[in-house]
C-alpha cells in the first residue's frame, strides 16, 4: 500500500498538533533547586574554545568565562581595568600597562609580563590564531620596562588599539608554561584553556558541553555561583522543552519567533539587546548589471526597511541609517549619537523612484539575479522575499535561495554574485570596524573611492574620538552616493534568563567579561 502525499502531510500535521496539545496542557516546570550552579544553553556547538582559532560571537562569550585581557569593556562599553590595574598612552604609538600584583592564573601561578607578551605573540600568529592576527599586526615591540610593567609600541597610531587589549578585542591572556605543556591541543577537549577568571574550564566535549568550576584565585574575589555548565542543544524545539522542564538558566540567541514561548515560562525574562550587528545589501561593483549605480538605486528604493523591521523583526531591531551603529558612536557623541546618524541623507522606499532609476539604467527592461542568505538568518530570507516581491513589480526578478552559512560566506566577493547580504557582528563595537571592512582596501564590493579611503585611513590614526567619528561619518556620507552597500538594519539578539536569574546591562559587552560572576537572582 502506498500513501499519497496529502495524506502524509495530514499525518505530520496530526503529529505536530498532538505535540502542541501536550505542550499546552503540560505541568508547570519545577524551579531549579539551588543557586550554586547554572546551565547555559547554546544553539550550536563550539569546535574549539580558543577564540583565536574559532571566532564566532558565542566563542567570545564562552571563552570570556575563563579568560581575561589586560583591560575589559564594561556593560556601557567603557574601558575598565582587568589584569592591568592601570595603563597609560604615553604618545601616539606607546602604551604602558601595569599588571595587578594579585593577578593569578587558575592553577595558582602568578601572571607575569612575559605571559602577557607570550599571549599576544600567539594571537599574532596567523596559523595559530587566524581570527586575531590581522588586528595585532601593527605592534612594533613589546617590552618589560619595569616590574609588572609592559610597554607596547606600535608601528603607526591606531585608535582601536586600546580596545584590542580586551577580550572584546583580541587578547585572551594565558600562561606560557601551560601553553607549552599543552602545545597543539589548546582549546580542544584535551588541552582546554587556562585563564585568570574565577571559573576554570574542567571539561569540553564538542557537540555536548563545556564545564567550568569556581576557583578562588581571581583578583576580583569569589563569586557565588560554583559551577557553570554550557550545553550545546542544536534543535530549537528541544532547547525550549529543556527550558520548560526547568533544566536551563540562561539561553543565548533565542529565535525571535519563539520569544513569546520562552517569556511564558515561570520566572523567565527575555532580554533583547542591540547586538552590534549590521545587516545590509552588498553589491559587487564589477558584476553586471550591478556595476551600474542606477540599478543599485532601483534596488535600494524598492526595499521597505521600516516594514521589514516592523514585520520581519517584530520591531527587534532598528532601520540602519548608516553602517556604524549608534552604540559604536556613544563614546564620541554620547546622547547625540542617534541624531547625528539621523542627519545623514536616506533613500526612501519609493517604487516609482525605483522604476525611474531602472528606466535610466543599462537594463531598462529589467533582469534576473540571485540573492542567497544563510540558513542561520531566517529573517534575512524573509526580508529578501519582501524585496523580491517589490522588485517583481518593476521587472526585476530576484531568486531568493537559502544556503548554509559556509556557502553564503563563500559567495561574498566571489565575483559571481553582484547582489548579496552582509551580516556582520562587530565584537569590538568600534565605529570604524564594519565600514572599513566594507569600504576600505580590499573590500568585498571591489569599491574604490580614494576620498572615502583617505577619510577612513585618517580615522584610524586619529586619537580624538569626536574627530574620529566625524571622519567616519563623512566617509559614510560620501560613500552612500556610490551605493556599494545599502544598510538595512541594526540587529538585536534575544537572551533568555530563567529561574529568576538576570544580568543588568544595556549592551552585549557584558558577555565578554566573566559574566556568570555578574548574574543575580531575584526571589
Amino acid at each position: 500500500m502506498l500513501t499519497s502525499t496529502p495524506r502524509r502531510f495530514g499525518l505530520l500535521a496530526a503529529a505536530a498538533a498532538v505535540a502542541l496539545a501536550l505542550g499546552a496542557c503540560a505541568p508547570t516546570a519545577p524551579a531549579p533547586a539551588d543557586d550554586s550552579s547554572i546551565t547555559v544553553a547554546l544553539p550550536g556547538s563550539l569546535a574549539n574554545l580558543y577564540v583565536g582559532q574559532e571566532n564566532g560571537i558565542l566563542n567570545y562569550y564562552i571563552a570570556s568565562i575563563a579568560q581575561e585581557g589586560l583591560v575589559t569593556l564594561d556593560a556601557n562599553g567603557e574601558i575598565q581595568p582587568a589584569l592591568a590595574e592601570s595603563w597609560e598612552q604615553v604618545d601616539d604609538v606607546t602604551y604602558v600597562y601595569t599588571l595587578r600584583e594579585d593577578a593569578t592564573f587558575q592553577d595558582g601561578t602568578p601572571v607575569t609580563v612575559d605571559d602577557v607578551i607570550f599571549s599576544i605573540e600567539k594571537a599574532q600568529d596567523p596559523e595559530l590564531s587566524p581570527g586575531f592576527s590581522y588586528y595585532l599586526g601593527g605592534i612594533a615591540s613589546m617590552e618589560e620596562t619595569a616590574e609588572r610593567e609592559l610597554t607596547i609600541t606600535l608601528s603607526a597610531p591606531d585608535a582601536t588599539f586600546a580596545t584590542l587589549m580586551s577580550t572584546t578585542g583580541a587578547l585572551y591572556v594565558t600562561s606560557r608554561a601551560y601553553w607549552e605543556a599543552n602545545e597543539g591541543t589548546i582549546g580542544t577537549g584535551e588541552g582546554l584553556l587556562l585563564g585568570t577568571t574565577p571559573y576554570r574550564v574542567t571539561e569540553f566535549v564538542p557537540d555536548s558541553h563545556v564545564a567550568f568550576e569556581r576557583v578562588d584565585t581571581w583578583w576580583g574575589g569569589v563569586p557565588e555561583i560554583e559551577e557553570v555548565r554550557v550545553d550545546f542543544i542544536p534543535d530549537e524545539n528541544t532547547r525550549l522543552l529543556a527550558a520548560q522542564s526547568g533544566q536551563i538558566d540562561v539561553a543565548f540567541n533565542v529565535p525571535f519567533q519563539q520569544a513569546d514561548q520562552w517569556a511564558a515560562i515561570d520566572g523567565s525574562e527575555v532580554q533583547f539587546l542591540n547586538d552590534l550587528s549590521y545587516v545590509g545589501l552588498l553589491f559587487d561593483l564589477e558584476v553586471a548589471p550591478f556595476d551600474d549605480v542606477k540599478v543599485r538605486e532601483a534596488i535600494a528604493h524598492a526595499m521597505d526597511r521600516s516594514a521589514v523591521v516592523e514585520s520581519v523583526l517584530d520591531g527587534h531591531g532598528e532601520v540602519a541609517l548608516a553602517i556604524p551603529t549608534p552604540e559604536s558612536l556613544l563614546t564620541a557623541y554620547g546622547d547625540e549619537a542617534s541624531s547625528r546618524l539621523e542627519a545623514l541623507p536616506q533613500r526612501d522606499f519609493d517604487l516609482d523612484a525605483a522604476a525611474a532609476a531602472l528606466a535610466e539604467s543599462s537594463v531598462p527592461e529589467g533582469f534576473t539575479a540571485e540573492l542567497t542568505y544563510p540558513a542561520t538568518g531566517p529573517e534575512l530570507g524573509r526580508a529578501a522575499l519582501a524585496l523580491s516581491a517589490n522588485l517583481a513589480e518593476i521587472g526585476i526578478t530576484i531568486d531568493v535561495r537559502e544556503v548554509t552559512i559556509e556557502e553564503w560566506l563563500a559567495t561574498i566577493g566571489d565575483g559571481e554574485h553582484g547582489l548579496g547580504y552582509m551580516w556582520y557582528f562587530s565584537t569590538t563595537g568600534d565605529p570604524g570596524e564594519v565600514i572599513s571592512y566594507l569600504y576600505g582596501p580590499e573590500n568585498p564590493s571591489r569599491y574604490t573611492n580614494e576620498e572615502v579611503q583617505a577619510l577612513l585611513a585618517d580615522s584610524f590614526v586619529e586619537s580624538d574620538p569626536v574627530v574620529r567619528a566625524d571622519l567616519i561619518l563623512q566617509a559614510e556620507e560620501l560613500a552612500q552616493a556610490d551605493l556599494a552597500s545599502y544598510p538595512l538594519w541594526w540587529g538585536q539578539s534575544a537572551t533568555a534568563f530563567l529561574g529568576g536569574w538576570t544580568i543588568d546591562t544595556q549592551t552585549p559587552f557584558v558577555y565578554t567579561n566573566p559574566w556568570p560572576a555578574l548574574l543575580t537572582r531575584s526571589e
Binding site: A15, V18, A19, G137, D207, S208, A242
Partner: protein, 332 residues
C-alpha cells in the same frame, strides 16, 4: 602447470568459504579506495571556502590568507593533495581535523561508542518489535489485525525522524518526565543507556516499519507454500508452523535488515541533532559543511567499511540459515 588446471584450482578456491571471504574483503578494499577518491573530489566541488570558514567575515591581509592556504596545503593540485592524504592514511595517519584541531582518529574514536550504541539499540528495538508484528500480520493476512499493523507501519515510514523525536520528547520527557530531554549522559554505560532510550526509539520507528513490511511480505509467501500446507495437514501446532515459515523467510529478512542498516546511518544525523547527542552523525554534518576534508574522508570511510562488512556478514549468515548454501559449497 598449464593454465587450465590453474584456473580450475583458482575457481575451486574462490568458491570455498575462505576463498569467498577473501574475495569479498578484497571487494571492500576496492570500494573504499574508489570512495576515497570520489569523496575527495566531491569535497573540492561543493561550495564553500575553508579559509573563509576559518576567518568568518573578518578582514584579513593577504599574508594571513597565504599562511592559512600554505598551512593546509590548499594550493597543491588535487592529485597531490590526494596522494599526500593517501600516503599518510596507509601509515595509519588520517590527518588532523581543521575544525576541531585534533587528530581525526581521536575525534572519531571518541564518538564511535555513542553512535554505535544508538544504532545497535535502534536495530534491536526495531527487530524485537517489527519481526513479531510482521509474523502476526502475515498470519492474519487481510484481517483487521493485519490492517492495523500495516497502518501503523505507514505512519512509521512517513513520519520524519525529527518529528518522531519531538513527539517522544513531549510525551516521555516533558509531559511524563521519565527520560531526559537531551544529552548523552555521563560516561557510565547505564546512564548512557538511559539517555539513549528515546533517541534509539525515534530511530527505530522508521527502521521497524520497513522491517515489519518485509517480514510480512516474506511470511505471506512462505505461509502460502506447499510445505506449510503439508505441515498443517500433518497436524503440527500453529506455533511450529509459524516457526517453520519464519526459518524459511529468514534469508530475505536478514538481507533486508542488513540493507536498512544504511538507513540508520542517515537517521543518526537527525536524531543526534534533535536530542543534542555528541555522535558521528552530527560530526559528519558539520565536517561536510566546514569542508573539513580529512574528517569527512575518514568518517565516510568508516561508514563504508561498516556497511561493506555488514553485507559480507549477511552473506555469511546465508550459510548458517540455509543448508543448501552450505552443502553446495561443500560439494564444490
Amino acid at each position: 602447470m598449464s593454465s587450465a588446471p590453474r584456473r580450475a584450482l583458482l575457481a575451486g578456491w574462490a568458491s570455498s568459504f575462505w576463498g569467498m571471504l577473501t574475495l569479498r574483503l578484497l571487494g571492500v578494499v576496492a570500494i573504499v579506495l574508489v570512495l576515497s577518491v570520489l569523496i575527495f573530489g566531491m569535497m573540492h566541488l561543493i561550495p564553500g571556502d575553508l579559509v573563509r570558514n576559518l576567518l568568518g567575515l573578518r578582514p584579513a591581509n593577504p599574508e594571513t590568507i597565504a599562511a592559512i592556504r600554505e598551512q593546509y596545503r590548499l594550493d597543491d593540485p588535487f592529485w597531490v593533495q590526494y596522494a599526500t592524504w593517501f600516503g599518510n592514511a596507509l601509515q595509519g595517519d588520517f590527518g588532523t581535523s581543521i575544525r576541531y584541531q585534533v587528530p581525526v582518529a581521536d575525534a572519531i574514536a571518541q564518538r564511535i561508542p555513542l553512535t554505535a550504541t544508538l544504532a545497535v539499540l535502534a536495530m534491536i528495538i526495531a527487530a524485537v518489535t517489527a519481526i513479531p508484528l510482521g509474523v502476526v500480520a502475515a498470519r492474519f493476512h487481510q484481517r483487521p489485525v493485519d490492517r492495523a499493523v500495516t497502518g501503523v507501519s505507514v505512519l512509521g515510514l512517513s513520519a520524519p525522524a525529527f518529528v518522531v523525536s519531538l513527539l517522544l520528547l513531549y510525551v516521555f520527557a516533558y509531559y511524563l518526565p521519565i527520560f531526559p530531554v537531551y544529552g548523552g549522559g555521563s560516561g557510565d554505560p547505564l546512564s548512557q543507556l538511559y539517555y539513549l532510550v528515546l533517541p534509539s526509539t525515534a530511530l527505530a520507528v522508521g527502521l521497524g516499519a520497513i522491517l515489519m513490511r518485509l517480514t510480512r511480505a516474506a511470511m505471506i509467501e512462505a505461509l502460502a507454500s506447499d510445505y506449510i500446507t503439508f505441515a498443517r495437514s500433518r497436524g503440527l501446532s500453529e506455533t511450529r508452523v509459524l516457526l517453520l515459515a519464519l526459518r524459511n523467510s529468514a534469508i530475505p529478512i536478514v538481507t533486508a535488515a542488513g540493507l536498512v542498516f544504511t538507513y540508520v546511518i542517515g537517521g543518526t544525523i537527525l536524531v543526534e541533532a534533535a536530542f543534542a547527542l555528541p555522535g558521528l552523525g552530527l560530526m559528519l554534518q558539520d565536517a561536510v559543511l566546514f569542508k573539513d576534508i580529512a574528517l569527512v574522508q575518514a568518517l565516510v570511510l568508516v561508514v563504508a567499511v561498516v556497511i561493506a562488512l555488514l553485507t559480507v556478514a549477511v552473506d555469511l549468515t546465508y550459510a548458517v540459515l540455509d543448508p543448501r548454501v552450505r552443502s553446495r559449497r561443500r560439494a564444490s
